[in-house]
């Protein structure tokens, strides 16, 4: 077992990529992802990681380069944020459709305009439909573990989908936390070398990226969709194996003090720490509040999620992104539709909070919970409400 040491989460993520023995890294710097790729450059420059670091001229080329690399059979990593992720958009769909298992860490940051380097989830929520497996980390240890998990799942021959591990920009990427970096031999045992069934090799030529005429396009998408849904099993199995080897357990959905809760707060990412403090405080005051956190976002963990909210009267969904003119935030609308067919479903109240680096405080959680209690008896008028924004 590795040693617990204090380190910046970005550095720990780069170390995890090294432990995973990534072979090609192509990335373009953008705050707040920079520390991850800077540390990786250093590891390569020092010979501590025997990889090719391709200093591409844009994120569009970063992801394109990654696809070329992974198609040739090399374990491949990249990382970005916000505008960089948006610039990759076109290629992200191609990565999943061509079943090219790149692993990417996204340090979540607001999208421009106004230009902002600070945290929210508008970058990743704009990439909801790209067909990548997506997880959200709560803390540094989880970020490290999810990166190792991502390589294992993405490259599994029964999966072969690219994967994103989301970490909140600054509030997670730049904090120093005690983190256990696993031993190399344990990681090697958990994560065998990447051996794809099909790759670009003159000894066995294949064509990748053919034209999909109308007679075949739909069937190709169906096959992709089914394979994506089936990745669930491998995702869960890999977490189980991870727990056996490393002693840390992960599930698609986490709950905290939900047993007899009347209001459940649903969040993603590193807000969990503040949210738990708020829950503890409210519990002391006799308010029956609990917390649900989605770790797995795609494929959506419908079964686990429904179980987590069964019997719950009110669910307060906290979105970190706005979708103008929609019937809620991206998580809010998703959850409403997941619950639609449940006979005893909670009333769903949707809040949008913490945009562009606005803190979401213990008091904000208390306010959301209070509003949710109020909505137990009364239907909310608006599809979603903004929290923590000045009125004038």
């Amino acid at each position: 077992m590795g040693k617990r040491v204090a380190m910046e989460v970005s550095i720990a993520i780069a170390e995890a990529v090294k432990l995973a023995r990534a072979e090609v890294i192509a990335a373009y710097p953008i705050t707040p992802q920079t520390h991850i790729v800077e540390h990786l450059s250093e590891l390569v420059a020092n010979g501590e990681l025997d990889a090719e670091y391709v200093t591409v001229e844009s994120e569009h080329s970063a992801i394109s380069c990654c696809l070329g690399s992974v198609a040739t059979g090399a374990r491949t990593f990249t990382s970005t944020s916000s505008q960089g992720l948006a610039l990759m958009h076109e290629i992200l769909f191609i990565a999943s459709a061509l079943r090219l298992p790149v692993v990417m860490v996204v340090a979540n940051r607001a999208l421009s305009a106004p230009i902002s380097i600070w945290n929210d989830h508008s970058d990743i929520m704009a990439q909801r439909d790209i067909g990548w497996i997506q997880t959200f980390a709560e803390n540094g240890q989880e970020a490290v573990d999810l990166v190792l998990h991502a390589f294992r799942v993405a490259e599994d021959r029964n999966v072969m989908f690219p994967m994103i591990v989301n970490i909140d920009g600054f509030t997670l990427s730049h904090v120093i936390e005690p983190i256990v970096l696993p031993d190399q031999e344990d990681v090697d045992a958990f994560l065998p070398p990447f051996r794809p069934k099909y790759k670009l090799d003159p000894r066995k030529p294949i064509s990748i990226g053919a034209v999909g005429v109308p007679e075949i396009y739909f069937e190709a998408k169906k096959a992709q969709d089914e394979a994506f849904k089936n990745s669930r099993r491998v995702i869960l199995r890999a977490w189980k194996d991870f727990a056996t080897r490393f002693g840390r357990e992960y599930h698609p959905v986490e709950t905290y003090r939900m047993e007899d809760a009347e209001v459940g707060l649903l969040i993603m990412g590193s807000l969990a720490e503040t949210a738990m403090t708020a829950v503890d405080k409210m519990r002391e005051e006799g308010k029956k509040v609990g917390l649900i956190r989605l770790r797995l976002w795609r494929p959506f963990p419908t079964k686990e999620f429904r179980k987590a909210v069964s019997g719950l009267p009110v669910l307060a969904v906290i979105d970190r992104a706005l979708t103008p003119g929609a019937s809620g935030g991206p998580v809010g609308t998703e959850v409403r539709s997941v619950l639609y067919h449940c006979a005893r479903r909670p009333r769903v109240v949707n809040f949008v909070a913490g945009l562009g680096g606005r803190d979401v405080t213990v008091e904000d959680f208390e306010e959301m919970a209070d509003r949710a209690f109020f909505y137990k008896k009364k239907r909310p008028k608006e599809a979603y409400e903004l929290i923590g924004v000045r009125e004038s």
């Binding site: 072979e23 090609v24 192509a26 025997d50 990889a51 090719e52 391709v54 200093t55 591409v56 001229e57 844009s58 569009h60 080329s61 970063a62 394109s64 380069c65 990654c66 696809l67 070329g68 690399s69 992974v70 198609a71 040739t72 059979g73 090399a74 491949t76 076109e90 290629i91 191609i94 061509l98 070398p193 670009l200 090799d201 003159p202 066995k204 030529p205 294949i206 064509s207 990748i208 990226g209 053919a210 034209v211 999909g212 005429v213 075949i216 190709a220």
Partner: protein, 312 residues
């Protein structure tokens, strides 16, 4: 002279490879000069290659699932990123060889291919990045002087005066009103070891340049003139004739730039007037004698510049 070329013998009509790594049966138009250039390039390269194609005519006509013309490993990701995809392939091969996950002594040429649109316009940034980073790869631009795949729209490589669907002649326009972007010069500005122009009308010259480019370590760029009967409004059987005329009129000179030094590979001693080339194509039909004179002056001046470069 570049070390990798010291043993280079070159193709002659006697030793042409019979193998066709790019298979027949593709869906290009009759008389397509671009697919001919592609086929010749592949013949020169052989089978130990990995090709990354950009979206465009050649990608579309070669890969309608479940068919493929590619007898070599081939990948198509998108329109603007062939050079970036090839960068990744090259990086992967390097590291896989180091990790003993690919035979160390097997030389594989990494080749990126795109049209003039995928090179001069939307893909220029990715190309520049890949050339600057010094990847060991060959980039081939198949220049048919417009976006043919989407229905003949102008690109920055469309010649002065040419009619396309987005540079139509009219009361206030005589077709394309800008001069063709000099892509080989842009490639040369990256200080790469090898740059060349080629034409399917001079097939041995084309194949030899491609072969050389693939042998040289580091980035190489080849710009191939590719007549397109459909987009140019010429007869299918005139493709080769036009490719030859483009050279003989000095419109598309053939040269190599080896480690920064220019060599003209086909000197035009008795140049033909540009009009002979222009008049065979519907895309130039609207031009006035004044326009043609203007083009002639520009072609002469550009050729003089090239001669000067070759004298240096």
């Amino acid at each position: 002279m570049i070390a990798e070329l010291s043993k280079f013998k070159g193709f002659t009509v006697k030793n042409l490879p019979k193998d066709e790594p790019f298979a027949p049966g593709h869906r290009a138009c009759q008389g397509c000069g671009e697919v001919l250039a592609l086929r010749l390039a592949m013949k020169a390269l052989g089978r130990d290659v990995i090709v990354a194609s950009a979206t465009g005519c050649m990608e579309i006509i070669s890969s309608p699932f479940p068919h493929t013309s590619w007898r070599v490993p081939w990948i198509h990701i998108a329109f603007e990123n062939a050079a970036a995809v090839a960068s990744g392939v090259e990086a992967a091969l390097k590291v896989l060889k180091r990790h003993k996950r690919f035979p160390k002594n097997k030389r594989v040429s990494v080749v990126a291919m795109a049209g003039d649109g995928g090179t001069a316009d939307i893909g220029l940034q990715a190309l520049s990045g890949a050339l600057e980073r010094g990847h060991d790869f060959l980039y081939i631009c198949l220049d048919n002087e417009a976006y043919m795949n989407t229905g003949v729209q102008r690109s920055s490589a469309t010649p002065y005066g040419a009619m396309t669907t987005t540079s139509p002649p009219g009361a206030k326009s005589f077709g394309q009103m800008t001069w063709k972007k000099n892509l080989p010069a842009i490639a040369v500005a990256h200080n790469i070891p090898y740059v060349a122009t080629a034409s399917p009308a001079f097939f041995l010259d084309l194949m030899n340049k491609v072969k050389k480019a693939s042998l040289i370590k580091g980035p190489a760029y080849i710009h191939i003139f590719s007549p397109c009967p459909t987009g140019w409004g010429c007869k299918g059987e005139d493709s080769i004739k036009l490719a030859r005329l483009a050279v003989d009129t000095k419109i598309f000179p053939l040269y190599e730039v080896i480690e920064g030094k220019y060599y003209i590979t086909r000197k035009v001693v008795r140049p033909k007037p540009v009009e002979e080339y222009l008049k065979l194509q519907r895309r130039f039909r609207h031009l006035t004698p004044e326009h043609i004179e203007e083009i002639q002056r520009r072609v002469d001046a550009e050729y003089e510049k090239l001669l000067k470069l070759a004298e240096l």
